[in-house]
Amino acid sequence: MIRCEEIMAWVRELDLVYQSNKASLTELDAAIGDADHGINMVRGFSAAAKELSEQTPPDIGAILKALAMILMKKVGGASGPLYGTFFLKASMTCNGRTSIGAEDLVVLFEAGVAGIRQRGKAKEGDKTMIDAWEPAVRAMREAFSGGGDVSEILRAAVSAGESGRDATISLAARKGRASYLGERSRGHQDPGATSAVLMLKAARDTLA
C-alpha cells in the first residue's frame, strides 16, 4: 500500500538524487545539448521538496498535481513541461485517494508516460527520455500481470528503464536539442533518459 507519506518520501528522495547527480546530468547535456539538464532538475525538485514539505496537500492526487505545477514553473527547458505533464496526468489517476495499490501504481505511470508522449511527440528510438519510460511502463504492466507486488513492479521498471537508457548511447537523436547533432550524437547517453531512470530508482527506494 502506498500512502501520502511514501509519495512525499519519493519527492524528498528525488530532491536528494538530483542534487547528487546534478553535475553528471549537466555533463551529459553538455555533450549533446546545452549543459542545463541537471541544473533544471535540481531547481524544480528542490523547490518541490521544500514547498510540499511545508504544506503537504491532503491526498496523493493533490500532491502529484501540486508537484506538476511546481515543475512546470521551475524547471523550464524541454524537461519542465514534460515532467510537469507526467505528474499532471499521473495525478488525475488518483484524485482524492490517500492510498493506492500495485495496479493503481502501474496505471499512474502509464498515464504519466502517455502525457510525455503526447506533449513531446517523441517515439522510442528518438534518443529521449521516452526510450527509458516506454520499456519501463511495459515492464511494470508485465510484472503486475505476473502477480508482482509494488516492489517487484518497481524493480522491473528500473531494470527495463536502465536498458532503455543504455540503448540511447548508440542512437542518433531525432528529437530535442541533441537532434541538431544528428550522427554526432551517437556515443552519448541521453540526459533525459538518465534522469527518468533516477526517478524510477527513487520510486523503488521509497514507494515499495
Binding site: D34, D36, R43, K73, G76, A78, P81, L181, G182
Partner: protein
C-alpha cells in the same frame, strides 16, 4: 571560471534589477514571475508583441522591449526556456485588447513552454498567435531533427513586427507578416571559443587552440563541423555560401543583414567581417539596404559571430525605418 557576479543562482535576477534601474523610463520588471514589459503597457487597441527564451543572449530579448519593438520579454534561467506561468502573466500585463503575438525561437523547450502558455491564455479569453522562428541553416531541416533553430533573424523580426504592431496592424496581419519574415531570413554562426554556463562552472565544449565550430548554436550546441581556424575572408565566404544558397537569395535582391558578435568578439573584428560581407554580397549582386553590426544575440562570453540575411521589399524596409526606442536599439523619433 571567472565571472562578474555574486551567487551564480542570482545572476539573472540581479541583472534584471540593474536593467530596471538603468532603463526605468522604457520598461518595468516583474520578478515573481520574471518578465520585462514596456513601461506604458498595456497599449490600448494595439497588438502586443511578446518574446522570450533563456537568458545569456543579452541584449535579446529584454533589451528590445520598448515602443516600436517588443511589448514584453520573458527571460528564463541561463540558456533555459521560460516557463508557462511567466509567459501567461506577461501576456496579461501586455494585452491591450487586440491580442498578443508570441515570437518563439525553435527549440523544443521554448516551443513546449510557449505552447502551454498559449493554451492558458486562449482559455482565459486572450487571443494569442504563435510564430516559430527557425532561420539557422547549419541544421538540416528534416524529420530527423527538431527542425532548424531560431537565431539571428529573431532580432530583425522583433524589430519589424514591433513596428507593424505600433502602426496598429491587427493580430492576423501581424502574424502573417512574422511568418513571411521568417521564411525570408537565413542565418549561420561560428564559434572560436566555448561559453561557460555560470551554474555549470566549466566550458560547455572544448575547442583546440586553433579549432573553430562552424554552425554553432546560440547555446553552444555544436553545428556542422569542426575545422581549424581560417582567415576571416574565407569564413565569411563559407558562411555566405551556406546562407545565400539556402533560400536562395537571387541577384538583385534587397536585404537587411545582421553581423552579430557572440559576446566575446571585439567590434574591430566585427567591422572587418562586415567589410568582407559587403564585398561578398556585391559580387553576388545582393543589395544590403540596412544593417546592424554589433552584439545583438549573444552566447554569454563566447567568441565568434553569426550572419543573418533577410530579403526585404520597400514595405519591410519602411517598417525597419520606423522609430524604435529600446535599451539596445534606438532610432527615429
Amino acid at each position: 571560471m571567472k565571472k562578474l557576479m555574486n551567487d551564480p543562482g542570482d545572476l539573472v535576477v540581479e541583472s534584471l534589477r540593474g536593467m530596471e534601474a538603468a532603463h526605468g523610463d522604457i520598461l518595468r520588471v516583474s520578478y515573481e514571475p520574471a518578465y520585462i514589459v514596456r513601461a506604458d503597457a498595456p497599449v490600448r487597441g494595439k497588438v502586443g508583441v511578446l518574446s522570450g527564451g533563456g537568458s545569456g543572449h543579452e541584449p535579446m530579448h529584454g533589451g528590445y522591449v520598448g515602443p516600436g519593438m517588443l511589448g514584453a520579454a520573458c527571460p528564463g534561467a541561463i540558456f533555459t526556456s521560460p516557463t508557462p506561468d511567466q509567459i501567461e502573466e506577461a501576456t496579461r500585463a501586455l494585452d491591450g485588447g487586440a491580442g498578443v503575438i508570441y515570437l518563439v525561437k525553435n527549440y523544443t523547450g521554448d516551443v513546449l513552454n510557449f505552447e502551454s502558455a498559449a493554451e492558458l491564455c486562449v482559455s482565459a479569453g486572450i487571443p494569442v498567435e504563435t510564430v516559430i522562428i527557425d532561420d539557422d541553416v547549419a541544421v538540416q531541416d528534416s524529420s530527423f531533427t527538431a527542425g532548424r533553430r531560431g537565431v539571428g533573424a529573431t532580432v530583425l523580426i522583433e524589430k519589424i513586427v514591433g513596428a507593424a504592431a505600433e502602426r496598429g496592424m491587427g493580430l492576423a496581419e501581424v502574424t502573417g507578416l512574422a511568418r513571411t519574415l521568417n521564411e525570408e531570413a537565413r542565418s549561420m554562426g561560428v564559434a572560436l571559443s566555448s561559453c561557460t554556463v555560470p551554474e555549470a562552472g566549466k566550458p560547455t565544449f572544448d575547442l583546440g587552440a586553433d579549432e573553430i565550430e562552424l554552425g554553432i548554436g546560440i547555446h553552444g550546441e555544436p553545428g556542422r563541423e569542426r575545422r581549424t581556424i581560417r582567415p576571416a575572408r574565407e569564413l565569411v565566404e563559407y558562411m555566405s555560401e551556406a546562407i545565400f544558397s539556402d533560400l536562395p537569395f537571387h541577384r538583385g535582391d534587397s536585404i537587411i543583414v545582421l553581423l552579430n558578435g557572440m559576446g566575446g568578439t571585439p567590434l574591430i573584428e566585427l567591422y572587418l567581417l562586415y567589410g568582407e560581407l559587403e564585398r561578398v554580397a556585391r559580387t553576388r549582386g545582393l543589395h544590403i539596404r540596412r544593417r546592424l553590426v554589433g552584439n545583438y544575440i549573444t552566447s554569454l562570453e563566447m567568441q565568434g559571430f553569426s550572419m543573418t540575411a533577410l530579403r526585404s521589399d520597400d514595405r519591410i524596409l519602411g517598417l525597419w525605418d520606423d522609430p524604435v526606442h529600446t535599451a539596445s536599439i534606438r532610432w527615429g523619433s
